[in-house]
């Protein structure tokens, strides 16, 4: 097999790697789907290094091997779990309970929406599903109460991001698989940052209504007895969450089995819901189908792209270059996070993770943060998750903001992005806090393992 370049010339391979990045970027600009672009560049690059034959034979079974990978089977199952939850009427129960607990404060209904998003995020691994489901329930109520357009849509768009921050989280699963980390530990580590996010958002609302008192009126206080009665409608949400996450942590079952148990749980509750029809069942299946296929097509492209990245040794050179400059490791992480925030303005969160983690991660684990490699990987993963999630609520492509805006129908998108601003500030403060004190993220993992 005659290859295009002499295989011993490392320099050629690396420059090939560097040249193909702009080509990938060009394909993306030309509206070629992300998975397909990654496949094209990966296959082309690999063939220049090793010839066409390996690619052609890899094509025979690569899709099969990827789709039948046991650790990836957790993804469709968690998506199914979340989609059943969306149709099971849990969102309304969560919102009513949170409203009874927080509604008497100023801006309390918006706080309740954030709280309900957090609760829903505990059984749903996707931000978009959380935003869409909670938006349908909470937005009419917020508008009826006379909440300002900016606050009501902003709170829901930001609240939706709790869907991926609070475990289970599809993005976190993919990060764990890419970097070969333990999913149970990643989930545990996401717990405190997710909780901080919910508290931070609620604080942001409290401060916001101080400045704009008319934007968030309050309801009457609800006594404890009726709160308890409302709690009866949501205990199964907590039960499913603790069985799934606890079971995975305690080693009762694998993440895939945990996701299956969760899907069975939310599916059962959906079946018991009297509004659940055959039509909603088909909707659950079709939503799961579209998201699953979208994710796996990107994964398939990423498989080819990543093997090219590995062949080109571009990450080795990147790591050597970065290390030779002798910057503080924290500055390097800060630079990467800033890159993510910019990329998040252009790109889908999942594609961003799949595109950049194979390049950045080998560099990160070679830096010395005074932690073990595993702890560094967990800390970096959680930080990445948060900044990637910020991309969901920033213009111009903040999908969460668009989803809520679409549900509202008549609110200009500018208002929504204005409303998101206080939550963005809270996000940035949280990123700085978790960045400066890795111990916050790692405390649960250190305590329980």
């Amino acid at each position: 097999m005659k290859s295009f370049f002499l295989e011993n010339y490392d320099i050629e391979r690396i420059s090939l790697g560097i040249y193909l990045f702009p080509i990938l970027f060009l394909l993306l600009v030309l509206r070629i789907p992300i998975g397909l672009s990654m496949f094209l560049v990966g296959a082309f690059g690999t063939s220049l290094i090793a010839g066409w034959l390996p690619i052609i034979s890899q094509l025979k079974t690569s899709a099969w091997h990827l789709f039948s990978n046991y650790s990836l089977s957790v993804i469709p199952l968690f998506l199914l779990m979340g989609n059943f939850a969306a149709k099971a009427g849990m969102s309304a129960a969560l919102f009513n309970f949170a409203g009874a607990c927080l509604g008497h404060r100023k801006g309390g209904v918006a706080m309740a929406a954030v709280g309900a998003c957090a609760g829903f995020g505990a059984i749903c691994g996707s931000s978009l599903a959380t935003a869409a489901t909670m938006g349908k329930v909470a937005l009419p109520e917020l508008r009826k109460m006379g909440y300002s357009n900016a606050l009501s849509t902003g709170a829901l768009a930001a609240g939706g991001t709790l869907g991926i921050l609070i475990p289970p989280s599809v993005i976190l699963i993919i990060y764990s698989i890419l970097t070969e980390q333990n999913i149970a530990k990643m989930f545990l580590a996401a717990f405190i940052p997710g909780f901080l996010a919910a508290v931070g958002y609620i604080t942001a609302i409290a401060i916001y209504v101080r400045f704009f008192p008319n934007s968030g009126p309050n309801k009457n206080r609800v006594d404890f007895k009726s709160r308890f009665l409302l709690f009866k409608n949501i205990w199964h949400v907590l039960l499913i969450f603790f069985i799934v996450i606890g079971g995975i942590y305690l080693g009762w079952f694998t993440p895939t089995e945990g996701a299956a148990v969760g899907a069975a749980g939310t599916g059962l509750i959906a079946l018991l819901n009297k509004n659940f029809s055959l039509k909603s069942f088909f909707e659950v299946i079709n939503d799961t189908a579209i998201t699953t296929a979208m994710i796996f097509l990107i994964l398939l492209g990423a498989e080819f792209f990543n093997s090219f990245i590995a062949l080109s040794r571009i990450t080795n050179i990147l790591a050597e270059t970065v290390l030779s400059y002798d910057y503080s490791p924290f500055i390097i992480v800060a630079i990467i996070l800033i890159i993510y925030i910019f990329l998040g303005c252009l790109m889908d969160s999942l594609a961003m993770i799949l595109l950049t983690i194979p390049v950045f991660f080998p560099v990160i684990i070679q830096l010395d943060f005074g932690m073990s490699i595993e702890e560094t990987a967990i800390w970096f993963g959680i930080l990445t998750l948060i900044v990637v999630e910020v991309g969901l609520i920033t213009p111009p492509v903040g999908l969460n903001a668009f989803i809520i805006n679409k549900i509202a129908g008549d609110i200009p998108i500018k208002e929504t992005f204005k409303g998101v601003l206080p939550f963005l500030i809270s996000d940035f403060l949280r990123v700085i806090l978790l960045f400066a004190f890795p111990g916050i993220t790692l405390s649960l993992v250190r305590l329980l393992y």
């Binding site: 993306l28 039948s68 148990v261 899907a263 299946i285 296929a293 097509l297």
Partner: protein, 178 residues
Amino acid sequence: MSNNSWYEYSIRSNDKFGRILFYLSNFLSIFGGCVLIIIVIINVFSISGRVLFSSPLLGDFELVEMGCAIAIFSFLPFCHLKNGNVIVDFFSSKFPLYIRQLLDILSNFVFLLVASFFTYRMIYGVIDMIKYNEQTMLLKLPVWIAFIPGIFSFFLLTLVCFHILLKEIINMDLNKIK
């Protein structure tokens, strides 16, 4: 997950071929969903067997792997038909409509090529599997059984690409190009 109304319009097909494709891919996606639900049931059985009676289901991992692969394959055509594949439209959203339409024709043409090439190579893959009699570890299930639906899905995906490509070319406003 881009929202192009003209695209949605173009997909709402009135022709027989398009309708058949829609029903087939929707049927396939429902079929995949049912496989996924069977996987859920298998897992629940296996866990309860293991925890309650300490007798796990033999080869449950293999069933999950095979089932998941079949389900994911079955989801592909429907996702593409529903325009579910992610593109970056941050830059191109400011291009004039006819350029975007041209780019989408190009992109679908590439998609068609890749999907048909995958289908073609996977047929060789399944021939290999039958020839070498590849089996799963515990249950000794022949792997090619699950491979066949996969090939069918990729074939249907190819047809979907072809259909969308035709639609896009027909809907293209030729006057604007001059």
